[in-house]
């Protein structure tokens, strides 16, 4: 069940009607049941995975939290939690990747293959809820959080349906108290939530799904000119932004309707001027998770300059692998890791601490860095590393601008215009909710335009979100 489907609309209307009528404990039970129903709609067999993960982490959390004086027991409980979560994730997501590569390696050196490819279905959103559950036990272990008292509350935290399959990856310290305590639904929450749902739906159905047609046409073609390859890359940059941030916006909007505040996951990432800035704006819930639980655990920047660079590169490499079991994702992670290392080395000497990015070259720097991000997206989207090389070669040796490229550019600009207008407003005012603060005429015009474009151009197929596969 995806947010951009009629089935979800019916589901949400029923759930929300009941939700508003129930007391707090009843609301939590309803959220748990409806979240399991929401997830089971894809494949009910995978409900067992969420339940097992939830049960292990709940027990581990209780053990870690209740035995503060016994470090050994706490370490064992944490190890059980981490091992079980990573085993589930590793098996379903990475088994075939490692098996296939090991087999290829063995074949290369002339040894017999002893591992074989298994027909494993990747459970939707496994990386998201696994990371969310892991943060819970890690936070308790670090003393940042007390264990959940009620299994119902904890299970609701793990499976909260607005963000279950594609984030934001919430921290227990942020979401769990909201589940545990009675929630208030305010008129402001309903209004701002409505905008977020609507804007997210627009980004997904109008921009991302339509750009996907351009992108798939070029990346799936036998041959493409440099011009269409470049345009497809730009189109993919906006497709993935709108697809993923659209889901996050809808998740935040739906949660607000239930009195729950989810974290901001995207903050106009293509307005970033450097890699550090980019990762403070793109998939914020994942980048902060990786920073807090991986980078800092590896030592962060406390063990000297070289070790800091190694930690940065390793964190981004694993971040790339988190996105998918393919070398293209590893290359994408490595590319961003390399950018971060180079930027940190440069910034240490040239950027004073606390400096604010502004000035006349700001837009030029944004555009230049956007192109570096696009280069990274080429690794991310390409079907193989060979295609990466071929498309890059075409851009520099066979650009060949023609009518098809001109038409593609016109389509790209037409689809992205509303996005750019809203983003510029958000950046100029420094608030993501700026569109809701516009005066009468522009606000009404914006709402009406979005409705008309959704009607006329929105994809109605209930297309899946790119990040579901992660």
């Amino acid at each position: 069940m995806v947010f951009n489907s009629l089935v979800f609309l019916v589901f949400f209307v029923v759930v929300y009607g009941l939700y508003r009528a129930l007391p707090h404990r009843g609301q939590n039970l309803l959220l748990l049941v409806s979240s399991y129903f929401f997830y089971g709609w894809w494949d009910w067999r995978f409900l067992s995975l969420i339940f097992i993960s939830t049960a292990i982490d709940y027990v581990a959390g209780r053990v870690i939290g209740s035995s503060g004086a016994d470090p050994r027991r706490r370490r064992i409980a944490l190890a059980v939690s981490m091992t079980s979560n990573l085993t589930i994730l590793g098996f379903f997501k990475y088994f075939n990747f490692f098996a296939d590569n090991l087999a290829a390696l063995l074949q290369l050196v002339g040894l017999p293959t002893f591992v074989r490819h298994l027909d494993i279905i990747l459970p939707v959103g496994i990386s998201f809820y696994t990371f969310q559950a892991m943060s819970y036990t890690l936070d308790i272990y670090r003393g940042h959080l007390r264990p959940a008292r009620s299994f119902l509350d904890f299970a609701t935290f793990v499976s909260f349906f607005p963000q279950l399959v594609a984030g934001p990856i919430e921290r227990a310290s942020h979401l769990l108290p909201q589940i545990e305590n009675p929630r208030t639904v305010t008129r402001a929450g309903i209004e701002s939530g409505l905008w977020l749902i609507f804007w997210g739906l627009f980004k997904k159905c109008v921009i991302a799904d339509n750009l996907a047609i351009l992108v798939d046409g070029v990346f799936g073609a036998e041959t493409a000119t440099g011009a269409t390859s470049l345009l497809a890359l730009y189109a993919f940059a906006f497709q993935i932004l709108c697809d993923f941030s659209g889901y996050s916006d809808m998740a935040r909007g739906l949660a607000r309707w239930m009195g729950v505040e989810l974290m901001v996951n995207f903050n106009n990432p293509y307005f970033a001027v450097n890699p550090k800035d980019f990762w403070a704006r793109w998939h914020i819930s994942l980048s902060s998770w990786l920073r807090d639980y991986l980078y800092i655990t590896l030592g962060g920047n406390r063990r000297g300059r070289r070790r800091t660079y190694v930690n940065l590169a390793l964190t981004m490499l694993l971040g790339g692998l988190w996105h998918g079991a393919a070398w293209t994702f590893v290359a994408w992670g490595a590319f961003h890791g390399a950018m971060l290392v180079v930027y940190h080395a440069w910034a240490e000497k040239h950027v004073p601490k606390g400096a604010v990015d502004s000035g006349r070259w700001l837009w030029l720097r944004r555009i230049a860095f956007f192109h570096l991000v696009c280069l990274g997206w080429l690794f991310f989207r390409a079907n193989s590393m060979g295609q990466v090389g071929q498309m890059l070669t075409n851009v520099f040796t066979n650009f060949a601008w023609d009518a098809a490229a001109g038409n593609m550019l016109a389509t790209l600009v037409l689809l992205c215009l509303p996005l750019w207008a809203v983003q510029i407003l958000q950046v100029k005012t420094g608030t993501l909710m700026a569109p809701t603060q516009l005066s009468l005429v522009p606000r009404a015009a914006l709402y009406a335009t979005l409705v008309l474009l959704l009607l006329a151009l929105g994809n109605t197929g209930g297309g899946a979100f790119i990040y579901f596969q992660f």
Partner: protein, 403 residues
């Protein structure tokens, strides 16, 4: 010197924009008028743009510039309104109603369907026909004498030469035959068939139209959806189909409500082929693999109750409007005849002829038609060649010429 703040509030930003860029509003108004005058039609037709800048100083451009200034003034005035009141939602609703009325008006209908037609691919026959029908509908039916209206599938579309038919008998001929138009689809499209008292509705029906039909072809219904026909269609569809297809019924209802949804399949090509023209190929009906088509056509036949119900409803509604039915029994290439098909053909003949004869018009069986169609008259399994077309057209004209 104090550092300017990094961000402005939204109202501050709006005020600054309106003060600095006030000239943009009349300029955009004048440019819009210029575009509508000439380049717009070139773009609609997929032709190279030719701009005549002198028209920027015409009366129309001046009026459009003033309209632009009015927008600027209303925007400025709107800055004073209190935010708590739901004016924005009301104004947005008003804008949506205005946009709906605009899209339904001939001012937008003609360029929309022309532009869509100019951007279709060679194989998009159905969409091309929709553009044709919607353009005719936008133009409206002339104040002419009672007409012969051709309704039916591509068998009718390819089987009858409209020009020749008009020349061979006194009635004007209106074409409403479409690819795949079985009776349920014909009923769904009824709002776009301009019946008038005294008209004759000519149909070409056989077991081919009443068997193996899609249960609820919503994508076919969409461009013709109307609240005038939706209840009729729903009455014809079995309840089990209605339950199974509830999502598509919502789609149908939305299309019946707003032209922006109804025309969406035709607005999308405008975005995806913004600068590209279409492929203006002649309509070809012959499928590439005749053997495969023949094998498929010889398969099991499943009678469609929905299409039978729809035919009866269609006939009743036509009769109520004083429109006479002229139903020609349809045929298919004898190469796909089978015992099952022959049986279905006879059963359909019996049902349809009895129903039509009961006060709805005239039924002309294959035996009565006596067209004597040979192998050379069949283009493929279901469509006629020009020679077959000539035979059917003349026979139909003969029937229409009778008082």
């Amino acid at each position: 010197m104090p550092t300017p703040p990094l961000h402005s509030s939204v109202p501050e930003l709006e005020r600054a924009f309106l003060r600095k860029a006030w000239w943009l509003f009349p300029a955009l108004g004048a440019l819009a008028a210029l575009a509508v005058g000439g380049p717009f039609w070139a773009w609609v037709d997929g032709q190279p743009l030719a701009i005549r800048w002198a028209q920027l100083f015409s009366l129309r451009a001046g009026a459009a510039a003033l309209a632009g200034l009015a927008v600027w003034a209303v925007w400025f005035w709107g800055l004073r309104l209190r935010r708590a009141k739901p004016w924005a939602l009301l104004l947005a609703a008003g804008m949506l109603v205005g946009a709906e009325m605009l899209l339904r008006s001939p001012l937008a209908q003609t360029p929309l369907w022309l532009a869509a037609r100019a951007r279709l691919d060679a194989g998009q026959h159905f969409m091309r026909e929709v553009c044709y029908v919607r353009l005719e509908e936008a133009a409206g039916r002339a104040d002419d004498p009672p007409a012969a209206i051709l309704v039916g599938s591509s068998q009718m579309l390819h089987g009858v030469n409209v020009g020749k038919l008009a020349a061979l008998q006194p009635r004007p001929v209106i074409r409403r035959a479409m690819f795949g138009m079985a009776p349920l689809k014909a009923l769904a499209m009824r709002a776009y068939v301009p019946f008038r008292p005294g008209d004759v509705c000519a149909m070409y029906l056989s077991e081919f139209d009443f068997t193996n039909q899609e249960p609820f072809p919503f994508d076919w219904f969409r461009p013709y959806a109307s609240w005038r026909t939706l209840p009729d269609v729903m009455r014809c569809v079995p309840k089990s189909t209605a339950i199974r297809e509830w999502r598509h019924i919502v789609d149908f209802a939305l299309a019946a409500t707003t032209e922006w949804w109804r025309a969406r399949d035709f607005i999308r090509p405008l975005v995806f082929r913004f600068w590209l023209g279409g492929a203006r190929a002649d309509v070809e009906a012959a499928p590439a693999d005749l053997a495969a088509a023949a094998a498929k056509a010889r398969g099991a036949l499943r009678f469609s109750d929905a299409d039978w119900n729809a035919f009866r409803r269609y006939a009743d509604l036509a009769t109520a409007q004083d429109v006479k039915l002229l139903v020609f029994e349809g045929d298919v290439n004898p190469a796909i005849y089978s015992a099952e098909r022959t049986q279905a053909k006879e059963a359909t003949r019996e049902k349809v002829s009895a129903f039509v004869a009961a006060g709805h018009g005239r039924y002309v069986s294959l035996a009565e038609q006596a067209l004597d169609l040979g192998p050379e008259d069949w283009l493929d399994m279901t469509h006629l060649t020009p020679s077959g077309n000539d035979k059917l057209t003349r026979r139909l004209a003969q029937e229409l010429a009778q008082p």
